[in-house]
């Protein structure tokens, strides 16, 4: 027979058991993350020095040299991607959240979901056919465009979700003050959803910053400095890829250092953006 006491004991055990499982799952997830980070730091720190951050690659046999052009190249590519992907993505997300009823919205939503699942190399091919072939040249712009297209669906859907999460009561409060609809969206809904939109944008940026496949035949890579959007440009993931599959120990070290820089860049970007957003809240 189950006395109240035994039931209490039973519940306590079940409680501890489930808590234990949750903690184990958490531990596993964090452990993987830390292992990856730790390994990259341990392996990459050795190759990281001022030379690496300020010089272009040297030919095989010459020691030294670095990936400065690839670091700048990645920043330029991500910059183009943001210019291409963010405005359209955020705009589409706002449309879906605020006006998104009916057939058009369903189609847009479906397309965005399908686009999320398209392999990035396919999007690279698309950019190749659209920009590289007609212009007869690999270019930074084609690479950035491909990355922007990859960002697009992620930004669209996270923006939609964030704006949709703004409580109806806030919109109604603003409408009841006699504020026109577009101003309610621009001045109340968007600021309230801002941190969610920024998080979505950061996720998208973090994802494309490490994309390699779509850059193979768009940005192409470059061993030298290039600031032109119409010329091939170096990118960290491409450089890492080339160096990692090479047979030279020196290049392997540099590939690790490149990985570390890439992780560091994404991290810096995230922290920086969050600080900016936090400062803007409650301001003025």
């Amino acid at each position: 027979m189950r006395t109240p006491l035994s039931i209490a004991w039973h519940r306590k055990v079940a409680n501890w058991l489930l808590l234990g499982l949750c903690l184990a799952a958490l531990g596993a997830a964090v452990a993987v993350l830390l292992a990856v980070l730790g390994y990259v730091i341990v392996q990459g720190a050795g190759g990281l020095n001022l030379d690496f951050l300020t010089n272009t690659p040297r030919p095989v046999g010459d020691s030294g040299g670095g990936m400065a052009n690839a670091i700048v190249g990645t920043l330029i590519l991500v910059g183009i991607a943001v210019v291409v992907g963010l405005p359209v993505g955020i705009g589409a997300g706002i449309y879906l959240a605020e006006y998104g009823r009916g057939r058009l919205a369903t189609v847009v939503r479906f397309v965005a979901d399908v686009l999320t699942g398209v392999p990035s190399i396919t999007i690279g091919l698309f950019a190749y056919a659209l920009l590289v072939v007609p212009l007869k040249s690999f270019s930074a712009f084609a690479g950035g465009f491909a990355l922007g297209v990859i960002m697009l669906p992620v930004v669209t859907r996270t923006t939609e979700e964030s704006v949709r999460l703004v409580p109806a009561s806030l919109r109604e409060a603003a409408l009841a003050l006699g504020v026109p609809r577009w101003k309610v969206i621009a001045r109340i809904a968007l600021p309230t959803a801002l941190s969610g939109i920024v998080t979505g944008a950061l996720l998208a940026v973090a994802r494309v910053a490490g994309e390699t496949a779509p850059l193979l035949f768009t940005a192409f890579g470059n061993q030298f400095w290039s600031w032109s959007l119409r010329q091939p440009i170096a990118a960290l993931p491409l450089q890492i890829f080339v160096y990692a599959i090479s047979p030279y120990d020196d290049w392997h070290r540099q590939a690790w250092a490149g990985s570390l820089v890439l992780v560091g860049l994404v991290l810096l970007l995230s922290i920086g953006m969050r600080l900016v957003v936090r400062r803007q809240r409650y301001g003025g």
Binding site: E172, A173, A174, A176, G178, V179
Partner: protein, 277 residues
């Protein structure tokens, strides 16, 4: 031709809060619903200046829909429909060519749950209506914010933390902040949709005291679930009930003491004595 309601918009150079003349409001055969589903039918009510009119009735009888029709907020809901008239000083707010945005500036609204803008400070919450609408208040914004906060007896409690977010206040304070926000744009009518439903008794008391103050300057309409509240604060009470087709109708309207002591309709009596609802 300028629609009458626009012509009656107050010139901005006048100080909005100092304006003390309240305005009359009347619904004429007002019906509304959502898609096929009716919510209210043929509501004829007059809300007089200087009085608090309470609308009572069980859940789902269309009380909220009714006052949301008055400031044209009902139509924001998808599939919403409205028929009939709402006369503000004799001019129909549903007349063709009338901008709902301008109607809402003349008819302020306070909601069931306090809903200060979370991204704005206390100061900015009160100033929000003026700033977002680009209204020149004719006097300095800090003065106006002070006036509105003083009006709702909140100034002393928040004067040292005007830069803090509005959501940092207690529920009762938030609701008074929301009333101040509504008053800052100088409405003529104030609609309150169960303004104390989410508040504790002390906060409720403060809001009720405030309403008695405000009725001197505004036409006040309050929807409430709480019959004691209606009895305490209102001058006129309207009792609504949903019919068989779920459309709410006004069963009885009259001076509050009469509705609560000597109702003429049997259903009103049953409701106020707690036999249903």
């Amino acid at each position: 031709m300028i629609p009458p309601i626009l012509a009656k918009m107050r010139p901005p150079e006048q100080s909005p809060l100092a304006l003390a003349d309240a305005h009359s409001l009347e619904t004429v055969r007002l019906s509304a619903g959502y898609g096929e589903r009716p919510a209210i039918r043929d509501v004829n009510l007059t809300f007089r200046p200087g009085q608090i009119t309470a609308i009572i009735g069980p859940s789902g009888c269309g009380k909220s829909t009714l006052i949301r029709c008055v400031n044209r907020l009902h139509e924001v809901t998808p599939s919403a429909r409205v028929a009939g008239q709402v006369l503000l000083d004799g001019a129909d707010v549903y007349a063709p060519g009338v901008d709902p945005v301008l109607v809402r500036r003349r008819i302020g609204m306070v909601f069931q749950r306090p809903n200060p803008f979370p991204t704005l400070s206390i100061f900015d919450n009160v100033a929000a209506g003026l700033r977002l609408n680009g209204i020149d208040p004719g006097k300095s914004l800090p003065d106006l914010v002070w006036e509105a906060l003083d009006r709702v007896v909140l100034w002393d409690e928040v004067k040292d933390k005007l830069r803090q977010p509005g959501t940092a206040l207690s529920g009762g304070q938030q609701q008074r902040l929301c009333i101040a926000r509504a008053l800052a744009v100088a409405p003529e009518v104030l609609l309150l949709d169960e303004p104390t439903a989410a508040l504790d008794p002390m906060a409720t008391l403060k809001i009720e005291e405030l309403l008695r103050e405000l009725k001197r300057d505004y036409t006040v309409v309050i929807v409430t679930h709480n019959m004691q509240q209606a009895a305490r604060v209102s001058d006129v009470t309207a009792f609504m009930l949903a019919g068989l087709d779920n459309a709410g109708v006004v069963v009885e309207v009259g001076p509050t003491h009469q509705i609560f002591t000597n109702p003429t309709d049997r259903r009103t009596e049953e409701y106020i004595t707690g036999r249903f609802g």
